[in-house]
Symmetry: C2
Subunit: 355 residues, 2 copies
């Protein structure tokens, strides 16, 4: 695949735009950043995401990374300002955007939409990271009317950011994100809503379950309003399916139909298991080792020192997210074949270990 040579102009210096700038700059590609807000652009530039110089000469690629409502106009403006450049965007929704662009009557062969599957509850250039996209899926939403050169330039961007290109048609992309991103967001918000005016004494019983279910509900309401409205059609169908399932569950509960309830719950367990694991498509067999750790400075250092001594790489780590206790547990997720060696080493060093 061809490599990006640049220059690359990034329009919109938020979390995603600035992270792209940092990733490209790290590879020595000349980058420029623009933002409707000068201070935001300057912060991105100061972090090394690119130059704020407005006179960009012949960019190879323009990346439009603005909020959903501004995407169509900024993509159109970029196509007009740079008649030789490939233009891409990083928006969460594709079909409606394409429709808006087509209404403009412009030629769209140099426009190739895309969507990196990376983000954070935090936003803005200060939350950006050069390797935000490394190993992540990045949907490349090419169409039959795209210039093949433009598709290559877009894919070169994905490659330069260390991500994995996942080709998808616009409608398929929108259905996929409605399912794995927008539906969970709505469900999290609906559950969280019910907590908003709950008595403190009830909330005091909260454990890690309700925290995990509602975490993404903390996302920016203005951004999410735009995302949900932009994908209203695909999302509505799924929400209506969810409502159907909810109605059925309420009926089962009212009728005391345990077998039906169990079927819903088992289907839920199957769905949770269907989500691919940490290592992309490849499933690494892992096991969890639980270690008791005092809640004092140095304890984790000692633990990870001991783990390191065993020559074991940690796939994932989890510290109990709940109420304060003098000692906590660390769950170390490691490749299954390394569990025995790790447990022996830790136990030998005096740690209380369980699997």
């Amino acid at each position: 695949m061809d490599e990006l040579t640049g220059p690359v102009l990034i329009v919109g210096a938020g979390l995603i735009g600035t992270s792209i700038g940092l990733a490209l700059a790290q590879r020595g590609i000349a980058t420029y950043v623009r933002d409707a807000d000068d201070t935001t652009a300057r912060i991105a530039a100061s972090r090394g995401a690119g130059s704020t110089n407005r006179s960009v000469v012949d960019p190879e690629l323009v990346v439009v990374a603005v909020p959903p409502v501004a995407l169509a106009s900024q993509i159109a403006a970029a196509l007009a300002e740079f008649p030789e450049a490939t233009v891409t965007d990083v928006g969460s929704v594709k079909a409606q955007l394409l429709e808006e662009l087509r209404l403009s009557g412009m030629r769209l062969d140099r426009y190739v939409g895309s969507h990196p599957m990376a983000g954070s509850e935090r936003s803005g250039p200060l939350a950006a990271r050069a390797d935000l996209f490394e190993g992540r899926a990045w949907a490349v939403v090419a169409r039959a009317d795209c210039d093949p050169e433009a598709v290559r330039a877009q894919q070169a961007l994905v490659l330069a950011c260390g991500a994995v290109a996942v080709p998808m048609a616009p409608e398929e992309h929108d259905r996929a994100v409605a399912l794995i991103s927008h539906l969970p967001h709505v469900a999290a918000a609906l559950v969280a809503q019910q907590l908003a005016d709950a008595p403190q004494s009830h909330l005091a019983l909260s454990g890690s379950g309700v925290r995990d279910v509602t975490r993404i509900a903390a996302g920016d309401p203005l951004l999410w309003e735009q995302i949900l409205l932009g994908n209203a059609e695909a999302l509505r169908g799924m929400l209506e399916q969810l409502r159907g399932a909810l109605d059925a569950l309420i009926s089962s509960l009212a009728e005391g139909d345990g077998a039906a309830l169990r079927r819903y719950l088992a289907l839920g367990a199957a769905g949770a298991a269907a989500i691919p694991g940490k290592h992309g498509g490849v499933t690494v067999s892992t096991e969890t080792v639980v270690v008791a750790v005092p809640d004092t400075p140095g304890a984790l250092a000692n633990l990870f020192g001991a783990v390191s001594g065993a020559g074991v790489n940690i796939e994932d780590v989890r510290i109990d997210h709940d109420t304060g206790r003098p000692a906590g547990h660390v769950e170390l997720v490691v490749a299954s074949e390394l569990v025995e060696a790790l447990m022996a080493t830790l136990a030998g060093a005096g740690w209380h270990v369980e699997r």
Copy 2:
């Protein structure tokens, strides 16, 4: 408050029963374990949760830790077998259980219900831990007809397990757990259900959001069927409220009413923020420091060694849960007033640090 002197008999050697046995044994209290399955009882005993000797003489307290459907009969059996003992249980639902017990016509003054807010997706005696309850809320569901001696014995159990007693009436308890445990579980299962037959290409775009929302849906369907049925009345009201909110949200989406959507989302963000933080009732002001870490053995040990060198205690730690990448990020959550010192120390040691 009085201390437990024992002996304590634990009926049901699953995750919760065995963990209670381990906690009490650690304090030198004589414990006995029973289970409908002999092997399960033997495993719990071999881990140190108590003796499997069937001749228990004059237990001070009997803890019934069996699945929801068996609670009423096992509580009644314990009250009959040990006419001097206090009997408690650790079930997730209280009002319906009390009704069943009252139907038996037995005197219930020695029975005091309770519910520790601790658990795991894992189950059974092998997943048990002596400090499972440390710092956790533990609902004590006393009633006007309870013997004060029995209430004291139950509270002494909570204390001996390192937990925090939260007194609650049966109906209030059931409403609280419907909200902060059963409703989130149903929502997670409903979202996860939709994923069960989704195309692999769509699931390939999954990020940490959908993983977090659906994690608890992996819980045992048989256990959860019993819990949901046992709290059907309180839960139904909340699910109907959720359905009302879902209906309204679907309408706003259909009408393109962005302002209404944003209100729902903002209410969700407020609800997510209403959940108390890690340190129980006390909210410690924390900040997140992001550190880039290569995905190799020893890297975390070096990092935590450096953190320890700065004399900083880590409140929480999070490693990116997503697709495999050659380098990852560790988010360290520390008390706000320690952030500057930590960042300076880490940067000085060559780590790439951001806040």
